[in-house]
């Protein structure tokens, strides 16, 4: 039989493959619990117990991108705290914001480009002439009446012939324009669908057409907040809400048990479209779009005029309010209260039938006041100058302004200044000049170039760097230095101090040099020894007399150092020339005065930073490092040789310096072994070269540091 059937059928196409039902494994029914929500990338969403709502953004971690990470609260006077308002969008991720999420972001046209059909209120710019422009009022579209515009705003569309643009008449509005044109009358307007339902029910309120108030069930409020689509499904108004809270992605929302349903939503009839149309048209048509309604208007409730009570008179009585100015009352009350009762305590007591009280303390008042006053006086005293304490010339108890103040007996100015002033010799004697640093801000305000390398002057006295240097000094006459470099009549008083201090510098220098480190750059004003010096007893006291020449030597050398841009060689040679030991003192006053002038003119007491015209590194012969033993070999031996020549002079400064070296050299010269002699000499020169360089380097380093 099968074969017969097969022969009769024509087969088209490829037959399906035969399969055994048993072989193919049955598909497991996928349970709801097993289903996993994944995002577009296949990542797991809704971790753990989280079953619903919007996804916990940022890859379900909500750990960053401003998400749920706790932020510090920081608020200071300079930076006030900014209150960040967190929106739901903060917790949503791309999927939620995307097309199929719960809060889809849609790109819309902006207001300017939004071609909505609604008529927008024209905003007239409030320029110099505010309000509606007069021109607009004068010129108006006559064919478009207000009613027309209203209807159009509602959504009425003009069926039939549209008013062609040709018919629009512009010009000043006149009474004629308000007449209904035949074209308008005849044309029918189509009521928009939205209003059909609303207008069916008689309107006895003043709400807008189709307005439904808030008076609904609790749950429906939520719904109404986020309704996306209003759909008609089986004549029911169904809204698809955006609520996703507490509901799993796979479950449907439970029925709204709190919402009051509109029973009318159940009220529907089954009829065809034709029937619907008929229903509409049955009533008598008025004005082409209105029909007599089946419902009767609710009678407006008339409220009668309120009955006026008999006691009412038309006059307005001013009532005292609680908030009226209280002053009047208080002012009246206070004087009464403050005024002491005329009744005496004794009479009062009598009236009350009690014992008369003893007379107690009116006298105590005065006692109380006095200690107060005394205390105040004591407090006044400390206002005297905050960082300078002056012994009180006046006793502070006499603060009575009428008593003439005792004259203060403080004396200002130095002896010499006062004498000069008496003699009317103003000028050099009375003038003192100091360095003063204005604050950079002050310079700005006064339009003066600011001090570049000085730091802002704080309200301190300038740091006295000198102290660091003169640590070994026995007596430091700081006041003398600081106050003035003005002429003092007793230079002898000052100078020896200086000399002593300077002497100690030198001795210090010498001691350091003894170490053969040659880092003797302590003061710029003192010259450096280029040659090795044997150890000296520092504690040895040196006569003042010697120091005058010392002074000269120092200061004159200083002069030269300041002025010239010399090569190292020249400067060295000069220095060595001037290093003369102090000669037995010529006690001429003229010299003293010379020195005085020298001192005064130079203001040398302050250590100065010498601005070098050369660069700091200019004197270092770098060639030496590249080609050792070339350039400066020649001058150095000269120096060395010079020194021994000068040695016997008494003018050499410093004790016993080059003798030994000379001796050494002489000894060396005398030695027979040429090899040894050569080597030593070379060593020496090298050493000395090195040392010189070192010294110079250090010298410059020190200078640079300062």
């Amino acid at each position: 039989m099968d074969d017969y059937e097969e022969e009769k059928f024509n087969f088209f196409g490829k037959p399906l493959e035969q399969y055994d039902e048993d072989e193919i494994p049955k598909k497991k029914p996928i349970f709801v619990e097993d289903q996993i929500a994944t995002d577009s990338n296949g990542r797991r969403r809704f971790h753990g117990a989280f079953t619903g709502g919007f996804s916990a953004g940022f890859f379900n971690t909500v750990g960053s991108a401003g998400g749920w990470q706790p932020t510090e609260f920081k608020s200071s006077r300079s930076e006030k705290s900014v209150s960040t308002i967190r929106t739901a969008e903060d917790y949503m991720d791309e999927e939620d914001i995307g097309e199929f999420g719960i809060a889809p972001q849609v790109i819309k046209a902006t207001k300017d480009f939004n071609t909505s059909k609604k008529r927008k209120k024209k905003v007239f710019s409030d320029g110099p002439i505010p309000g509606v422009p007069v021109l607009h009022m004068l010129i108006d579209n006559s064919t478009e009446t207000i009613g027309y515009l209203l209807l159009r705003n509602i959504g009425f569309k003009h069926e039939g012939t549209e008013i062609s643009k040709q018919q629009r008449v512009y010009g000043s509005t006149s009474a004629k324009a308000y007449e209904m044109r035949p074209s308008i009358r005849n044309s029918t307007y189509k009521l928009p669908e939205i209003y059909e339902e609303a207008l069916k029910i008689h309107k006895n309120n003043t709400f807008g057409i189709g307005y439904k108030g808030l008076d609904r069930g609790y749950a429906s409020l939520k719904l109404s907040q986020k309704n996306f689509v209003v759909k008609n499904v089986k004549n029911k108004n169904m809204t698809i809400g955006g609520q996703a809270f507490g509901v799993g992605a796979f479950e449907d929302e439970d029925d709204d048990i709190y919402g009051r349903e509109d029973i009318e939503s159940y009220d529907f009839e089954m009829h065809t479209e034709k029937q619907q149309e008929q229903i509409r048209v049955t009533g008598r048509v008025l004005f082409d779009s209105f029909i007599l309604s089946s419902n009767y208007l609710a009678v407006n409730e008339i409220f009668p005029v309120p009955t006026i009570p008999r006691s009412f008179s038309g006059k307005h009585k001013v009532r005292k309010s609680r908030f009226a100015p209280i002053q009047d009352e208080s002012s009246k009350e206070e004087p009464k209260k403050t005024r002491r009762c005329d009744i005496d305590a004794t009479t009062r007591a009598e009236a009350l039938g009690e014992k008369a009280p003893e007379n107690s303390g009116t006298s105590s008042k005065s006692e109380d006041i006095k200690p107060e006053i005394k205390e105040k006086k004591e407090d006044v005293a400390p206002w005297l100058v905050f960082d300078k304490f002056v012994s009180a010339g006046q006793s502070d108890e006499h603060t009575d302004p009428m008593v003439p103040a005792e004259k203060s007996s403080s004396v200002y100015g130095t002896e010499h200044q006062r004498e000069a002033a008496k003699l009317k010799m103003f000028g050099d004697f009375t003038r003192t000049t100091e360095d003063w640093l204005p604050h950079t801000f002050l310079c700005k305000r006064f339009n003066v170039p600011e001090p570049a390398h000085w730091e802002n002057v704080e309200l301190k006295t300038p740091v006295r760097k000198r102290n660091l240097i003169f640590q070994n000094e026995k007596e430091v006459d700081e006041t003398g230095r600081v106050q003035s470099s003005g002429l003092q009549n007793n230079p002898d008083f000052k100078v020896p101090h200086e000399n002593q201090s300077l002497k100690t510098i030198d001795s210090k220098e010498q001691s350091t040099k003894n170490d053969e480190s040659k880092e003797g750059d302590i003061g710029d004003s003192t010259p450096l020894m280029e040659v090795e010096i044997p150890t000296i007893d520092i504690t040895e006291k040196i006569d003042v007399s010697k120091n005058k020449d010392l002074f000269k030597a120092i200061f004159f050398s200083d002069d030269e150092d300041e002025d010239t841009v010399e090569t190292k060689v020249e400067s060295e040679s000069r220095v060595s020339e001037q290093e003369k030991l102090p000669s037995p003192p010529p006690t001429s006053d003229s010299k003293m005065e010379e020195m005085k002038e020298a001192i005064l003119a130079k203001d040398i007491f302050l250590p100065k930073i010498k601005p070098l015209k050369q660069g700091i590194l200019s004197d270092i012969p770098f060639i030496k490092f590249t080609k050792p033993g070339t350039v400066p070999t020649q001058p150095e031996p000269e120096v060395i040789e010079e020194v021994p020549q000068q040695q016997p002079d008494d003018n050499l400064y410093g004790p016993k310096l080059p003798e030994k070296i000379v001796n050494r050299v002489e000894n060396l010269m005398e030695s027979k072994s040429d090899d040894v002699w050569v080597e030593r000499k070379e060593e020496k020169t090298k050493k000395e070269k090195h040392k010189k360089h070192k010294k110079e380097k250090h010298k410059k380093k020190h200078k640079h540091k300062r």
Partner: protein, 255 residues
């Protein structure tokens, strides 16, 4: 009377107007410096820093900085453009009360009871102090800015050369006793003026030093304040409770 500016807690001892006439700075015995808005009368800043009453206040040329001298021996420089409550700089070189201050475009001049005038040169970063010999009551620059007129309490007014410190002229005759009597200089730089204890305004010829005239303000009442117009030959004198305005057109010697 045009306006009253109230706000100080004690006597106002000095006041100055800004260059654009929009502000007034005043210093008081209540230790504070207040800047006022001229038109509204509202205090703009109240600067507290001095330890004692303020004797003199001045603006700088641009009126961006206020300088106050006080009985606490210091001069404080205040920034008026910002809201800083502390002074920009404190000049505390003086050893006694500051009585008078003058400001130029690059200098601050102070006169103190410690008998010295101090000239702070901002441009050159120097401080020049000149010992005068007697407590100084007032300091003024001459129009050319090269000399300083110093009135001191030893009944002398001196003309000091700014750069050298030398005395160029001395003007005597009036009596100041130990009161704070101001001296001034006419804009024309020909005459020196000073108040006196006797109530007279003394006028000397700058060059010769001779007394040219004595104007009476109020006899026997101290004429303590004298100020001159920056341009015209006009003098204001104040004594007790009266102010007089003198126009000095021609000053001839009293025979």
């Amino acid at each position: 009377m045009l306006k009253i500016y109230g706000g100080h807690g004690n006597e106002v001892l000095d006041a100055a107007g800004s260059n654009d006439n929009s502000q007034i700075i005043s210093g008081s015995a209540d230790k504070s410096v207040i800047t006022w808005d001229v038109s509204t009368g509202a205090p703009l800043r109240r600067l507290r820093g001095h330890a004692s009453g303020i004797t003199c206040v001045k603006y700088n040329e641009e009126s961006s900085v206020g300088i106050s001298g006080s009985l606490d021996n210091t001069v404080m420089i205040w920034d008026l453009k910002s809201r800083r409550q502390e002074p920009v700089q404190i000049l505390n070189q003086a050893k006694d009360c500051i009585n008078s201050i003058q400001v130029t475009d690059h200098e601050i001049l102070t006169g103190s009871v410690d008998c010295s005038i101090r000239r702070y040169d901002i441009r050159n970063r120097k401080l020049h102090s000149d010992f005068i010999g007697a407590p100084i009551m007032s300091v003024n620059y001459t129009s050319d800015g090269q000399c300083i007129v110093v009135g001191s309490s030893d009944d002398t007014v001196r003309l000091i050369d700014k750069n050298t410190g030398e005395m160029l002229g001395e003007y005597l005759g009036h009596k100041t006793e130990d009161l704070n009597v101001e001296s001034a200089l006419l804009a024309s730089d020909n005459h020196i003026l000073s108040g006196s204890v006797t109530g007279e305004l003394w006028c000397w010829d700058l060059v010769s030093g001779k007394v040219v005239k004595r104007f009476e303000h109020t006899i026997k009442k101290v004429l303590n304040s004298v100020s001159t117009h920056p341009v015209k030959d006009v003098v204001l004198t104040a004594s007790v409770n009266t102010i007089k305005l003198w126009e000095v057109s021609e000053i001839k010697e009293d025979s």
